[in-house]
Symmetry: C2
Subunit: 217 residues, 2 copies
């Protein structure tokens, strides 16, 4: 049978707390996953960049169920005519191509990428994507991802937050910081993880798996 | 005669407030200066990198009186054997050479630079500096600068803070943030400005001259 480790942890915690033992640590904490720049592709753009009939090759599962890093990497170029090479493609294919970069990349490429929730690409920036079999220039879809937290329905209840609610997050990195206006995405298929880009991670000095705390104020 | 514009502003503000007019805007705000990676050199290292008898050539004054950007740029290399080129030298010469980089640069160079107050280089990282006439490898002096605010004695009184006090700062950037543990440096020769590196600036999405607010909590 499958063990529900969260339930075991909760039971032990409750038993200890009933005896007056203060349990510190994991409670209320959210692990961080740092998103390097990456590309989601539409089926049409997979063929335009890699050739007719091409299929993305999964390389490694990501923390969110069904999502994976692909073997494929692409080059992106902006109005500066400078290129950023080896940008990882993530699968599976999506309805719309989306290129997620950091503000540091914005200065390299000179693209006007806005901070956006994933999928909200109307009015966002264009960029050129270079593949082994073709070049695609999108007129929207290049964004800086907003700070967001994925969580399951159970974690939504545990943290007392609803889908699409915004919370604040305390970060005890090497440079202590509070992140405001962090979007919470609650879905039965999500696993608890806060996603930030390399600029946010490097500013505070944390790595993958660091724990941050949701706060009310 | 020289006009003390801060005194004029304060007098107008006081006169308006005496009439019950609420003055919003600049009060309590601090302009931001974003520090890109840069190098301070000792006199001995100027000669080692540029040749005997060489003197740094001032190019542009910086906001803090007496400090200037030089025409000279250098290349730095870390254990990754990757180089970062065109790193600006700042003058005047200092007692110790100090290389200030961002955490993003740390990942490029693979140097173990700690977050430090300027000048506190004991136990910090080493790095190799390449100049047109020589190469210098320092065994300490490579740091990530801490977040800090320069202010005059008058501004220290206005803000109610002392030299070396730590404050928190609210940042209304594209991604709203609070920076904790910001060091305040009060000195008669300083001009009001908060210094952050490119990681902090890019994480919140602000440029030079953005205004941030010192808060008590």
């Amino acid at each position: 049978m499958a063990i529900d480790s969260a339930a075991i942890t909760a039971a032990v915690r409750a038993a200890l707390e009933a005896q007056g033992v203060q349990v510190v640590g994991e409670k209320g904490l959210v692990p961080v996953g740092i998103s390097n720049r990456h590309i989601h592709l539409s089926a049409a753009h997979v063929e335009a960049l890699f050739g007719k009939g091409y299929e993305l090759q999964p390389m490694k599962d990501l923390s969110q169920p069904g999502q994976y890093a692909c073997k494929e990497q692409l080059t992106i170029v902006g109005p500066s005519m400078r290129a950023i090479e080896k940008v990882r493609v993530l699968g599976p294919v999506r309805k719309d191509t989306q290129v997620e970069i950091s503000r540091t990349d914005v200065y390299t490429l000179k693209v006007k990428a806005p901070v956006r929730e994933s999928g909200k690409i109307e009015g966002s920036a264009g960029v050129t994507i270079i593949g082994p079999k073709g070049v695609v220039t999108i007129d929207k879809g290049c964004i800086i991802a907003n700070r967001h937290i994925h969580m399951s329905l159970e974690d939504g209840e545990k943290f007392g937050v609803k889908d699409n609610e915004y919370v604040n997050v305390e970060v005890n990195g090497e440079r202590r910081t509070k992140w405001y206006d962090v979007q919470v995405r609650v879905h039965k298929d999500f696993r608890l993880e806060m996603h930030v880009d390399t600029d946010d991670a490097n500013a505070v000095g944390i790595g993958n798996g660091a724990k941050v705390r949701i706060v009310k104020d």
